[in-house]
């Protein structure tokens, strides 16, 4: 229930006071104003509640004390708000790189161990040649693809819970989208080469995404202890 300030009592400009305290907060103005409004409502509630037992000047002074830890307030809000900007992009990039590198290593290992050396199938050998002569397997291509998959995972994770299932879905979505986008180009490829490529790429990207997603989940920063015991 919302406390109501008794009529005739001067109510301090909590909004202005809070906004001035948050000046050091480097956030978009609209977001800063929203936070200031929310905190000023909190202060007004506290002030109104204190008026039940205290004279107005004492109630105002005690409510103002809530803003005393201004530095901690600005720092904590800043950290909380930055979590999804700077930290998000850094995590996305690094985990995307991890995804791309894992997939590239697995595909390369697949060509080396099964495609060429062990199975000796013509299609696998030709895929290996194509991969080596073009830039399909260049690190940059895999890094960019890895970051894209991690972005997809982060979006899906916000909607559903994170974990291997969501990561698997992201990998499948990536492979399907990739197949659709390159459909015209793939039509010129012999069927055996296309199948051999898929045989390597699908499991490699699946495992790469699982590794990247695991890293993404592990690097989520846990908030600092915030409970204060009296």
């Amino acid at each position: 229930m919302t406390p109501v300030t008794p009529p005739g009592i001067h109510t301090p400009d909590w909004w202005g006071l809070t906004k001035s305290r948050l000046q050091g907060l480097r956030l978009p103005p609209a977001r800063r104003d929203e936070i200031a409004l929310e905190l000023s409502e909190h202060l007004e509630d506290e002030f109104t509640l204190l008026l039940r037992t205290e004279p107005p000047d004492v109630a105002e002074q005690r409510a103002m004390q809530l803003l005393d830890e201004r530095d901690a307030l600005v720092r904590e809000i800043h950290n909380a708000e930055q979590e999804d900007t700077v930290t998000y992009f850094v995590r996305l990039t690094l985990c995307g790189f991890a995804t791309g590198v894992t997939a590239a290593v697995l595909i390369a290992a697949g060509f080396g161990l099964t495609g060429v050396t062990l199975l000796g199938l013509d299609a696998f050998a030709r895929v290996d040649q194509v991969a080596r002569s073009n830039e399909v397997l260049t690190p940059i291509t895999f890094m960019v693809a890895g970051v894209w998959i991690m972005w997809l995972y982060s979006v899906m994770r916000a909607r559903w819970a994170g974990g291997p299932r969501t990561a698997g879905l992201a990998a499948v979505a990536f492979v399907l989208l990739g197949a659709i986008v390159t459909l015209g180009w793939n039509a010129f490829l012999p069927v055996d080469i296309a199948l051999a490529s898929a045989a390597y790429a699908v499991p490699a990207w699946l495992l790469g995404t699982l590794a990247g997603a695991r890293l993404y989940d592990l690097t989520e920063r846990a908030p600092a202890p915030t409970l204060r015991e009296s």
Binding site: E41, L73, E83
Partner: protein, 110 residues
């Protein structure tokens, strides 16, 4: 095994468990926690709101503005399905933690 981050999750557990009952705005949430813990647990502005913002970014709670007849506005926080899913293992971890403490140090008899 008790996770190393169990202490860090204490504040999250308190908030999620309170919001599991009904949506609350920040002030009401802080008052309720203080009242129901007998004054033992207190949130400050600098601890409550940043944590709520983090939990909102993670999709555990959802804040929405509500206008009151008095003209004031409130930002009410409600638990999301993802937050509810998060709460269950937290309760289990804390239950295990207190059972272990009780067994080792007789905390329950203190």
């Amino acid at each position: 095994m008790i996770p190393a981050t169990i202490k860090q999750g204490s504040a999250e557990l308190v908030i999620l468990s309170q919001l599991a009952g009904a949506p609350l705005h920040g002030y009401e949430l802080a008052r309720r926690i203080e009242r129901e813990s007998g004054g033992a647990l207190k949130f400050t502005l600098a601890s409550l709101y940043p944590l709520l913002y983090r939990m909102e970014q993670r999709g555990w709670v959802r804040g929405s503005w509500q206008s009151l007849p008095s003209g004031r506005k409130r930002r009410c926080y409600a638990l999301t399905p993802k937050g509810r899913k998060q709460l269950t293992p937290m309760l289990q971890e804390w239950g295990a933690f207190f059972r272990a403490l009780n067994k080792l140090a007789g905390v329950g008899r203190a």
